[in-house]
Subunit: 256 residues, 2 copies
């Protein structure tokens, strides 16, 4: 059996999930913690690569003995989250642990993901939202948000999202199916939620950056279909900063 | 005229408000920023000392030219918050600026303050609440919170709070009038709010620490009156950690 671990992390101090040279990553911290907890070297495999500075409200990873597709431990499953946390820095927290079959893969087994993006739009900055949101001081009216949501309705469905993919990405098929994509106000926060069967590199951040330009009146709320049809990154808007992005949910088939 | 500045700050990286040697404080950062903004040395006077690691949702300070009780500037008052923020680190933010009379004092002029204290009581830690709350993993039931509130009802009113003051504090009269003090659940957070005409050193943190012991069943919900009457710090509970405490509001007479 493999261990399936659910974690949350504040991405500010990390160069994303994936192990890298000369840069601290969440995978590295998780791998070190697993080794200390179980007393032998472990492999930790994540559900997604995330960019530097991106956060996760929910991120899934499997833990196995190094080079193996399973792990043996006498630590009871319900004690594993707190035991793990003893070896993790304060900005990473294990919130759940369960047993899954050896053939479970946290990335290829995922049938969908939900991301959240937070925009803080009060004029003056809020130190408590710094590094955890995109600060846009000019503010969005209800009508701006309505226009952004009209724009987002064109994103929903099955499309080739080449225009919303970072240039230089090596992807053969950029077709993805978006289930929902909408903005809603919650106090001083404009919250964006998007779910799809998969996401291209920088896709959420480019969609948000483009939608913000709609909200700012720089683009028409009816321009998205043409941007999608062009299959050209230059047609879409700027890439929203990483600090506002949260991986929010990972969906697996219940049978898994 | 003096400038009255309202700020918010995340206290994690600071040794509190008050300037100190060998330690970075919020007052120091504000004084540096004022100097850069106005082009001459300034005095920045706060409404309160705060402990190391304590946060502020609202903190008031006056800005004057060094050694003077007023300040002259051509910067329009509505531009001052953003101009100030250009010279401040991300964890301090000016949210308002207004003119007040030369005899206004942000500390002695305050007629009351409200503090907030956040307890995060889910079993597993939340990286997003780390440094911003007290993590108590065992959790509080509705009945526990009810008992804590029964205890808090004895704190409300005019009392000598010597038992809830850090030992060694040099205060002649420890009498303070508490207007309200209550806990309420908000999701995984147990939020405490307390307002009084003034607070003694560590008073809120000792009250919270004692109330938590009531919630944990270690003290009776009816024990607070005896603790107050004893005028002895040893009778009260532990001091709750600084990271959960927020100065939430400062009250001035409307005439000021």
């Amino acid at each position: 059996m493999k261990l399936l671990i659910t974690i949350r992390f504040l991405g500010t101090g990390y160069c994303g999930w994936q192990k890298q040279k000369n840069c601290i990553t969440v995978q590295e911290k998780m791998t070190e913690a697993a080794g200390m907890l179980f007393g032998f070297e472990c492999d930790v495999t994540g559900c997604s690569r995330t960019d530097s500075g991106v956060h996760a409200n929910m991120f899934c990873a499997t833990v196995t003995a190094k080079g193996s597709d399973s792990i043996n431990t006498t630590v009871p499953i319900d004690r594993i989250p707190r035991a793990f946390n003893n070896f993790l820095p304060e900005d990473i927290g294990v919130i759940n642990a369960e047993w899954v079959e050896n053939d479970f893969h946290p990335r290829y087994g995922a049938v969908g993901k939900e991301y959240e993006y937070l925009i803080f739009d009060r004029a003056e900055r809020d130190p408590f939202m710094s590094g955890r949101s995109w600060h846009i001081p000019h503010g969005f009216s209800d009508s701006d948000i309505k226009n952004m949501n009209i724009a987002m309705s064109a994103v929903v469905g099955k499309h080739d999202f080449t225009s919303f993919m970072a240039q230089g990405s090596k992807i053969e098929d950029a077709t993805r199916t978006v289930k929902y994509a909408y903005f809603e106000r919650e106090g001083n926060i404009v919250r964006f939620r998007i779910a799809a069967d998969g996401f291209l590199y920088n896709m959420v951040r480019i969609i948000v950056g483009t939608a913000v330009e709609v909200g700012e009146g720089k683009r028409s709320q009816n321009s998205i279909s043409d941007i999608i049809a062009a299959c050209d990154r230059k047609m879409a808007g700027r890439t929203a900063p990483a600090c506002g992005l949260y991986l929010n949910k990972v969906f697996y088939n219940q049978a898994d």
